[in-house]
C-alpha cells in the first residue's frame, strides 16, 4: 500500500518536474506547432530532392526552410543569451550590426567601386575583417553598458539607429555584387550536400559554444554577475569585464550571421537586411524560458527557442500571412509566452497540480 502511494506520488512529481523543466515551454510550443501543421496540411512536411542550376542535389520544402533560417537565429541566440544573462538587458542593435558586418564583407570582396569581376581577397580574410568590425561594434555597446552603466536597450539604441547608415556609408551607398558562385556557399549549399550550409555553420557554433561552456567558467561567471553583481565582485570577479566580453561574443555571432545574410543574395539591401532579427533573437531567449532580467540561463533552450520561432514564422508564411502582418501574429505568441511564464500563472498551475495530487492521494487512501 505504502509503496503504491509513493509510486503515485513520484509519477505526479515527475509530471510537475517536467512542467517546471526549462525545456518544457519550447518543446511544448514545438509540439503544438508540429501538430497544428499536421492537422492543417500534412504536405507542410513534404521535403523534395531537386537539383540546383549547377546540377548539385538540394533539398527543399518547409522543414528545410526552418532548418535554414532557424540556424541564423540560433547563432544570434547564443550571443543574445550571454548578454541577457550577464547584463539583464538585451542588444537591439543586432540587425543593424549585421548590415554593417555584411557590408564590410562585400566591401572587402568587391573592392572600392563594388564592381570587381573577381573577389579581391580570400573570403576567409574578408570574413575575419568583418568579424573584427562586428566585435568592435559589440565592444562599443559593451563599453557603454559595462563601464558607463547605461541600460543595454538604451546603449544599443545608438547602433540600432545609426547602424544601417554606417553600413551604406562603408560602400559609398553603392550595392556591390559578388559575381562568383563560390561565395553563395555560406547561405546556400555545399556542392554535393543537399542540406543548407547555415545549418552546419550553426552546428559548428553550437559545438564551439558547448566546448567553451564546458572548458571555461563562462557560465558560472556570467550567471553570478547577472544574479548578484556586488557579491560577484567580492568573490574576485570583474563584473564590468564579463559584461563587456558577452557583448564582444555577440559581435562574433553577428559577423557569422552577417556572412550568411550577404551570401544568400550575393549583395545587400541596407534598409531591410536582417530587419527586426534582434526581436526574434530576444524572443528565442525568452521562449527558451530564460529570464530576460538576467541570471541563470540554458543555452540549449535558447537554441531550441530559435528554431521554434522560425517554425512559427514559416508556418505563418505557409498560411499566406503577408509579411507586413507577420509581427502582429508573432505578438500573439509573445503575449501567450509572457503570460505563461508570469509568476502568478505559474503559481496557478502549480496549485492546480497540487490539487490533482491531493485528489489522487485521497482516492488512493479511500
Amino acid at each position: 500500500m505504502n509503496a503504491k502511494v509513493s509510486k503515485k506520488f513520484s509519477i505526479s512529481e515527475l509530471v510537475m518536474k517536467l512542467v517546471r523543466h526549462q525545456l518544457f515551454i519550447p518543446i511544448a510550443a514545438l509540439l503544438l506547432l508540429a501538430i497544428f501543421n499536421l492537422i492543417n496540411d500534412p504536405s507542410f512536411y513534404k521535403v523534395t530532392l531537386g537539383y540546383s542550376s549547377t546540377g548539385d542535389p538540394v533539398l527543399s520544402g518547409y522543414p528545410i526552410t526552418i532548418l535554414d533560417f532557424g540556424s541564423e537565429l540560433a547563432i544570434l541566440a547564443i550571443g543574445m543569451t550571454l548578454v541577457t544573462a550577464a547584463t539583464g538587458g538585451q542588444d537591439i542593435s543586432v540587425g543593424a550590426t549585421i548590415a554593417i558586418s555584411g557590408s564590410v564583407v562585400l566591401r572587402m570582396l568587391c573592392g572600392p567601386d563594388g564592381r570587381a569581376e573577381t573577389m579581391q581577397m580570400p573570403i576567409v580574410v574578408a570574413f575575419l575583417i568583418s568579424c573584427v568590425v562586428a566585435m568592435l561594434c559589440g565592444a562599443f555597446n559593451g563599453v557603454l553598458v559595462a563601464y558607463f552603466k547605461i541600460q543595454p536597450m538604451v546603449a544599443t539604441l545608438i547602433l540600432y539607429t545609426a547602424g544601417r547608415s554606417i553600413a551604406a556609408w562603408i560602400n559609398n551607398n553603392r550595392l556591390p555584387i559578388v559575381k562568383e558562385e563560390s561565395f553563395k556557399v555560406f547561405g546556400g549549399f555545399i556542392p554535393g550536400i543537399p542540406i543548407p550550409t547555415p545549418f552546419f555553420i550553426a552546428l559548428a557554433c553550437i559545438i564551439l559554444m558547448t566546448l567553451v561552456l564546458r572548458f571555461t567558467n563562462l557560465k558560472l561567471y556570467t550567471q553570478a554577475v547577472g544574479i548578484n553583481e556586488s557579491s560577484a565582485r567580492l568573490n574576485g570577479l570583474n563584473p564590468a569585464m564579463i559584461k563587456f566580453i558577452t557583448f564582444v561574443i555577440l559581435g562574433i555571432c553577428v559577423a557569422v550571421a552577417g556572412l550568411i545574410k550577404v551570401s544568400r543574395l550575393s549583395t545587400i539591401n541596407y534598409s531591410v537586411v536582417a530587419k527586426d532579427i534582434e526581436m526574434d533573437a530576444i524572443l528565442a531567449v525568452a521562449l527558451g524560458g530564460n529570464a530576460l532580467s538576467g541570471g541563470k540561463f540554458s543555452m540549449g533552450a535558447s537554441i531550441l527557442g530559435a528554431y521554434v520561432i522560425q517554425f512559427l514564422t514559416t508556418t505563418l508564411y505557409k498560411l499566406e500571412v503577408p509579411s507586413d502582418a507577420l509581427s502582429a501574429y508573432k505578438a500573439i505568441v509573445v503575449i501567450l509566452l509572457v503570460v505563461m511564464s508570469a509568476p502568478t500563472v505559474r503559481k496557478w498551475f502549480s496549485d492546480l497540480g497540487k490539487k490533482l495530487k491531493a485528489k489522487a492521494s485521497v482516492k488512493e487512501v479511500g
Binding site: 567558467n217 558560472l220 557579491s231 560577484a232 568573490n235
Partner: protein, 505 residues
Amino acid sequence: MKDNIVLEMKNIHKSFPGVRALQGVDFKLCKGEVHALMGENGAGKSTLIKVLTGVYEKDDGEIYLEGNEKAVVIRSPQDAQNLGISTVYQEITLCPNLSVAENMYIGRTSSMLRDWKKMNADAEKILKSLDIPATATQELSSCSIAVQQMVAIARAVDMECKVLILDEPTSSLDEQEVEKLFKLMRDLKKRGVSIIFVTHFLDQVYEICDKITVLRDGKLVGEFEIKDLPRVQLVAKMLGKEMDDMSDIRGEHAVYAGEDAGLSVFEAEGLVSDAGIKPFDFHIKKGEVNGFTGLLGSGRSECVRAIFGADRVLGGTAKKGGKTVKITKPLDAMKQGIGYLPEDRKRDGIVGDLSVRENIILALQVLKGFFRPFSKAEANKFAEEYIKLLDIKTASADTPIKSLSGGNQQKVILARWLLTHPEYLILDEPTRGIDVGTKVDIQKLVLKLASEGVSVTFISSETDEMLRTCSRLVVMRDRKVVGELSGDELTQSMIMSTIAGGDKE
C-alpha cells in the same frame, strides 16, 4: 480571560518543497502584551509571521481575531493590514529612492490625488514624536540603515494597528536606538497594541517581553510566562537539549603554538578608502583573533572593506607576510590568501539563484582561473565535504541558496571562504540574524581556525561575543581608530569607556 485574546492561531500547517516548515503550531496573543517568538533559524518563526501577514498561504489551520467565532481569511499583506496587523520585517522593505514621507504613506491613501504638504507635515509630526532623526522630505536611501528601519516602524505604528509584528527589528540598531525602540514599544503597549517580537537577542527578550512562545523544527515547544523561564532554560528549549556551551566557550581564547606564532601576517599603514574613513594602521599576527569594535556606523566595516579592496583604496600601504602588496580589488586580496565574509549577506554574500554547490566553490573557482573549471565530481566533493563539516541544512547541494534559512546561508558563505584555505579570514558580522546554536558553532569554528594558525578578524555588534573570541580589539569612533585593547583591558566597561572617549588620551 477569553475576551482578552486579540489573536489566536490554531493548528497552522505550511510546507515548502522538501521542508515541512510548520506542523500544527498554535499561537495566542493577548491585548497589550509584548510576546516574544523564539526559536533557532529554520524553527518556523518567519514562516509563521508570513502566514499571519498573508505573504504565504497556509496549508491548514485557522486564525481568529479578537475572540470572534469565525476564522478570518488572510490572503495578502493588504488583507492583514486591513485587519490591523502590521509588520516590520528584518530586511527593510521600503523604497530607497522615495522620500521618507512617501515611504510612510505609500499604498495607504485611497485617492490618487494627495496633499503633499499635509503628508509631509503629518510625517514630520510622527518622526518627531518617535524621536527619529530624519526629515519627511529626505530621500530614504540617504538615511542610515538604522534610521530606515525606524521609518519602517513609524510607518507600521501609524497604521493604527492592533497587532504589531517586529521581525528582528533590532539586528541593525545600536544600543541607543534599541532603547528608543523599546520606549516606543512600551508606549504602544500602554495604548493597548499587542506586539509580536521576533529576535535573537536574549537580553532584549528579558528586558521587554511578557511572554515567550518557543518553536523548534516547525513545531510548538510551548508558551511561557517570562518570569517562569530562566535564560538557560529558554536556550535549552530552543536547542532541544540541555547545554551550557555558551559558558563553555567563555574566555577561552585561541592559542596557536606554531613556531611562527608571533610573526605578523598582515600589516596596514595609513590605509584609507573612499568610504569616508580616516587613515588607519592595523596589523594581525599568525593565529591571532582580533576584532574591530565600535558603534554602528563607526567605520569598522569600512576598515575591513579597505583591507580586502572592496572599496576603492585611496592611499596607504599594505604588507602581507612582511612584503609590500598592492590590493586594489578583491581578487588581489584573495590571491594573498585573504578571505572576506561581508556584513550584508543578502546584498554582498549569496548569489541567490545559484545552487549551494556553486555558491561554495565560487571563490576558489575564481582563484583557480577562468580556463580551469572544476569538474562536476570535484565540485560535488567540495560541496558535500563542507555541507557535512559545517552541518549545513539543505535538501541537496543543488538547492538554490536563496531557499535556505539565514543561518545556513551564512554557513555556505563561510564554507566558500574556508574552501580557499585562507591565511587571513575577515568575518564581518558573521553571527548577525542567526540563531544561538549557529552562533556558538561559528565562534567555536573561529577559535579552531585560529588554533590551526589562521588569523581572523572578527566583527560583531555583540561585545560579549567579541570578548569571548578576540584577544585584541581595535576600537573605533566616528570613522577613526581611537584605541586598542588587549589582555586585562578586555572588559565590557573598558570597551564602553574607550568607545565613549573622553580626554584620557
